[in-house]
């Protein structure tokens, strides 16, 4: 069992290499296919621009070379961990990404943990008391949460809790000059709530559906027949089994930890990778876009593996041989 698992993991890890290369080719082609280039940023300010500087700019960045040469140059550097210099800031892409990681992880983790704490019990109670008022409320809220435009919800929260009540700051990660823990937490609350809403909505639905299907299983009847208390049956036999697919889905969502949340970060001016990404796409900063995309893809592929391993570990019926 141990051996086949190690074998499986090694195989998957090896598969990642051609997978990542394939992904990088597709990503590169896609961003180059989008019309407009980084020189558009020169014209963004509306000032008169000397057109010859656009040519020298493109030449310096190697944009006048054929696409496949640009790609191979990028790939050759990328495999050594060098993702090049950003077009707009001329700083190393890896440096730019790394300095935004702490803020991103902070926000995403907070949202994740908060969402997990709420979503799982919510889903469980919904399933156990199916068709009760609680269930209907939770279902409605879930659909609301999934359908809710993040942008609007974030601004509404800002208007209420920051502008009107003044309980929390409107945006940013800290108040300059005061980076105390209290200050940091206060800044985390609003964007954290907005973000976790999305996860709560989704995960509670999965938990509910999963537990419902488990509750109908024969072994539940057997456990009751054997004389266990209802609480024991539900928690030990029901929830434990129902958790398996839900945990896998959460593991997949974990990949998003590193990509940040574009809209939430924009609304709350959070210095995360999501905002960095959208800015880099807007300004056609190809090296930065590729760097962030590759990191995101790697996380997705990696956490897919983690999810599969966790699933196998939790469910003894599954074996990868």
């Amino acid at each position: 069992m141990e051996n086949s698992m190690t074998l499986y993991i090694s195989r998957r890890l090896l598969q990642m290499i051609p997978l990542m290369i394939g992904i990088s080719i597709i990503m590169f082609a896609l961003i180059q296919a989008v019309p407009g280039g980084p020189e558009a940023m020169f014209l963004e300010s509306g000032r008169f621009i000397d057109p010859t500087i656009i040519e020298s700019y493109r030449h310096r960045l190697g944009l006048d070379q054929p696409l496949y040469i640009q790609y191979f140059k990028w790939l050759a550097a990328a495999v050594t961990g060098d993702f090049g210099l950003s077009f707009s800031t001329s700083r190393p892409v890896s440096e730019m990404i790394l300095e935004r990681l702490p803020a991103t992880l902070e926000l995403m983790l907070m949202a994740f943990i908060f969402a997990a704490i709420i979503a799982i019990p919510l889903g469980i109670f919904s399933a156990v008391r199916q068709y009760s008022l609680l269930d209907y409320l939770t279902t409605t809220l879930s659909f609301l949460g999934i359908a809710m435009p993040v942008f609007w919800f974030g601004l509404m929260l800002q208007l209420l809790f920051s502008v009107k009540l003044g309980w929390f700051p409107t945006s940013g990660r800290i108040t300059v000059g005061d980076a105390s823990l209290v200050d940091q937490v206060r800044h985390l609350v609003l964007p954290g709530i907005v973000l976790s809403l999305l996860y709560i909505a989704g995960w509670s639905r999965y938990m509910r559906a999963s537990l419902l299907s488990v509750l109908r299983k024969d072994f539940m009847l057997t456990a009751r027949a054997k004389g266990a208390t209802e609480r024991y049956v539900i928690w030990v036999h029901g929830v434990k089994n129902a958790l398996i697919p839900v945990v896998s889905i959460m593991a997949l969502d974990l990949a998003g930890l590193f990509s940040g949340a574009v809209i939430t970060e924009t609304v709350f001016a959070w210095p995360g990778i999501g905002r960095l990404f959208i800015q880099s796409v807007y300004s056609r900063d190809y090296p930065l876009v590729m760097g962030i995309l590759m990191m995101g893809s790697f996380m997705v592929v990696f956490f897919n593996l983690v999810a599969d391993v966790v699933y196998a570990w939790l469910d003894p019926r599954i074996s990868y041989s």
């Binding site: 008169f48 000397d50 500087i53 809220l141 929260l157 502008v163 108040t175 300059v176």
Partner: protein, 573 residues
């Protein structure tokens, strides 16, 4: 059961919260509640800050130690802090890096590191026998860079050398190419030799680079020199302190500022990056910042409701216009006739756009020159709204109404597309208004919206019919770049050799009395040629605390921080 109740409670609170925020716009009674809280958020180091705020109306950034900190709610994060090579506007650099000149709130260029701007009268400009011009700048003495090294003419000539070097990527590099030599006869004198007279000479050198830091680097190295890009060395009232990526840039008082020990009056300025307009508005409303930039005209009403804050509608040189192009096939068919162009302009009600659509917050433009400029020609032809005249002109040009009411001529329908840029909502609104107005005279207007960079790519080719565009003009009135046949920023294909002649002559007229009649002529010809329809000059709504004194908003491309050395934060009684 307990969980049940908790869930219901949470649900109720959410619904109530949503209802409450839905009623938010009628908010003035809530203002007192809001002012209490900011006193808590704004206390950086001490909890006794509430005692410091003199009046509940304005949040004061004076810390218990007496430090004056100006918090600015800025727009999206900038790329680099090199004022010459950055692709963004240079508000933040202006606080740290100075140049020979700067533009002020009256649309004039004033000397900064130079003692005065050279002219023929003061002997600063001398015409040579070979037709070239010698221009002498006398520099301020006793100016020190932030690292203590003295500022001299060496720095100015080095800056020129860098800008004109191959591949410098400075946005207006072509203008500096008119200077063919720079001499530094003594540490406080610079002499430029100009190939030809260049009237907009006072717009150049708004930033000087330090020769002792960058002198040994090649041009390509300077472009990617992180130390300067992230923390520029200047002579200005403030010095670079910190740049927290994605969050803010902090600059602190320069204790050895050359204007004297009483300047700057502020101790720190913090520029926080808030890219989203709505968030910035909310941030101003919750009084977390003393100064907020980058708002739109439709947010002015909201900004005016903030207690303790003023709104300055700074008249800017951001010139919004309706332009057509004859580089596209359709454009050439429709717009290559001056009568047709004039007819289209008569069909557009510009005052309605400026006063109704933009809610009276902008300045109507009759020519590309700002009405506040001394070069403005009030006698140039103006296209007042006259749909009947428009129909008459179109008929004279051979266009007759077809079966569906749309004009036709030789089998061509008068139908064109306005290319819109996603995100520029005010311009899209204008396009829609124009669409409706032109329908009245039998012209069909279609709309196409493209994402920003994609729009820019198509726009540069000229292969489009029409667009509602905007230029951020300098305080100098030259528009040759825009309308000359070979104008670097003329994407439309319109060409009038007579106009070119007058524009080029005015560009070489260094004397106001010589240049003014030429510029008048330029505006008159432009109006007759009808290449472009001026709509209005944008206002830059700036919200600032009543505690901020000496703020004089400037609508030039060099921004409103031109006099930040004399700004002060004074408690309001």
């Amino acid at each position: 059961m307990k969980a049940n109740k908790l869930i219901i409670f949470v649900w109720m609170m959410t619904v109530i919260a949503m209802l409450a925020t839905a009623c938010a716009p009628a908010t003035t009674p809530a203002a007192p509640a809001a002012t209490e809280a900011p006193a808590v958020t704004e206390a950086p180091a001490a909890t006794e800050a509430p005692a410091q705020t003199e009046a509940p109306a304005a949040t004061l950034e004076i810390t218990p130690e007496g430090k004056k900190i100006l918090r600015v709610a800025y727009t999206a994060e900038i790329d680099i802090l090199n004022a010459l090579t950055s692709q963004n506007l240079t508000d933040i650099e202006v606080t740290m890096v100075e140049g020979l000149i700067i533009s002020n709130d009256k649309n004039q260029y004033i000397p900064v590191l130079a003692k005065e701007i050279p002219t023929y009268e003061n002997g600063g400009i001398v015409k040579r026998d070979d037709g070239k011009i010698d221009m002498t700048w006398h520099l301020q003495e006793g100016v020190k860079w932030h690292d203590g090294v003295e500022f001299t003419s060496k720095d100015v000539c080095f800056t020129w050398k860098f800008i004109v070097s191959e591949g410098s990527e400075v946005y207006n590099r072509d203008e500096y190419l008119n200077i063919e030599d720079c001499q530094a006869p003594d540490p406080y004198t610079v002499v430029f030799t100009w190939k030809v007279p260049f009237a907009p000479y006072a717009t150049l050198f708004e930033a000087i680079l330090p020769e002792h830091v960058l002198g040994n680097l090649t041009t390509a190295e300077i472009l990617t020199y992180d130390a300067y890009n992230r923390s520029p060395l200047g002579t200005g009232p403030f010095m670079f302190a910190e740049w927290k990526s994605g969050e803010y840039v902090r600059v602190v008082k320069n204790p050895n500022y050359w204007r004297g020990p009483e300047y700057p009056k502020l101790d720190e300025i913090i520029f926080t990056f808030i890219p989203d307009n709505n968030t910035r508005l909310n941030a101003m409303k919750s009084k977390e910042y003393d100064l907020g930039l980058g708002f739109q005209a439709n947010q002015v009403k909201d900004l005016r409701t903030i207690d303790g804050y003023d709104v300055s509608l700074v008249d800017s040189n951001a010139f919004i216009h309706f332009g057509t192009s004859i580089k596209s096939e359709n454009g050439k068919k429709l717009f290559d006739d001056v009568k047709v162009r004039q007819a289209i302009y008569y069909a557009i009600d510009r005052p309605a756009i400026a006063n109704d659509l933009m809610e009276g917050t902008v300045t109507l433009a009759d020519t590309p020159i700002n009405p506040l400029s001394p070069y403005y020609n009030k006698d140039a032809k103006v296209y007042n709204y006259d749909p009947e005249l428009s129909k008459k002109l179109l008929a004279e040009a051979g266009w007759t109404p077809g079966a569906d009411g749309i004009l036709e001529k030789n089998g061509t329908r008068f139908s064109f597309t306005i290319l819109n840029r996603a995100g520029r909502n005010d311009r899209i609104a204008i396009a829609q208004v124009i669409q409706a107005m032109l329908k009245e005279v039998g012209i069909e207007v279609l709309m196409e919206t493209k994402e920003s960079a994609a729009w820019t790519e198509q726009w540069r080719t000229g292969n489009w019919d029409a667009t509602v565009g905007g230029w951020f003009l300098t305080a100098d009135p030259s528009v040759t770049n825009l309308y000359a046949c070979d104008g670097a920023n003329n994407m439309t294909g319109y060409c009038d050799p007579k106009l070119d002649e007058v524009m080029k002559a005015s560009d070489q007229a260094l004397d106001f009395n010589e240049r003014k009649p030429l510029m008048d002529q330029v505006q008159a010809i432009l109006a007759e040629d009808a290449f472009d329809l001026p709509l209005y000059f944008n206002v830059l709504p700036i919200s600032y605390s009543k505690a901020l004194v000496n703020f004089k908003g400037s609508g030039t491309n060099l921004g409103s921080f031109w006099n930040c050395y004399e700004w002060d934060l004074v408690p309001q009684q």
